[in-house]
Amino acid sequence: MVKPTRITNAIRALRFANGEMTQADLAQRIGVTRQTVLAIEQGKYSPSLELAFQIARVFDVPLDEVFQYPEQS
């Protein structure tokens, strides 16, 4: 029923590289619940483009350093 996303992300690594930011801290800064940050990290939820940009802005990195999409084989 649910098609798994092919998008991967480096949010967890970026959180730790940014002063061990907690999921709750990130969630509060982008205006979502902690569970939503967890779901995004685990690839269970693909955020909207706007939310993706907000996440990248929190870490002050380009979007493709946060989210990656594999090349078509």
């Binding site: 029923m1 649910v2 798994p4 996303t5 709750a24 205006g31 979502v32 619940t33 902690r34 569970q35 939503t36 779901a39 685990q42 690839g43 269970k44 939820y45 955020p47 909207s48 939310l51």
Partner: protein, 139 residues
């Protein structure tokens, strides 16, 4: 578990509980009273009323026992809810079509009312279950 996900659980439990109670009351009369004579309307109205009040009370109790971090729905909550509602909507259509057929064949009001009520409850249960699965497995 988010505030919204807890709300879905409450909705599911109340829908099943209220309809189960209604069925128990009505089916209890089936063996002793002809279908046309079953006094189902008070039980139906009471179960609808009790499910509304019960959902409010249970929702408050759940939050007292385990307060949520946040009470606002976010984008994921809305996406999951929208998908659950879309995929779980068809029993309402089935119930309405069933009621239409029953009215065309001039069936007892009992069957028409219960076809519609079953459609609503089945939709509530199906959309809740799908929504909860989407919360767990992802969307």
């Amino acid at each position: 578990m988010t505030y919204e996900e807890k709300g879905i659980w409450v909705y599911l439990v109340v829908a099943v509980g209220a309809y189960g109670t209604y069925l128990a009351i009505v089916l209890g009369q089936v063996t002793t009273v002809p279908i046309a004579g079953i006094d189902y309307v008070p039980a139906l109205l009471w179960s609808i009323g009790a499910s509304i009040v019960g959902a409010i009370v249970l929702r408050i109790l759940v939050e007292i026992l385990g307060p949520s971090d946040s009470y606002a729905a976010d984008a994921r909550d809305r996406d999951v809810k929208r998908a659950g509602d879309r995929l779980g909507f068809w029993p309402i259509i089935a119930g309405a079509l069933g009621a239409l057929v029953l009215s065309v064949v001039q069936a007892e009001y009992f069957w028409i009312s219960n076809a519609i009520y079953l459609g609503f409850v089945a939709s509530a249960v199906l959309s809740s279950v799908i929504t909860l699965v989407l919360y767990r497995r992802g969307i």
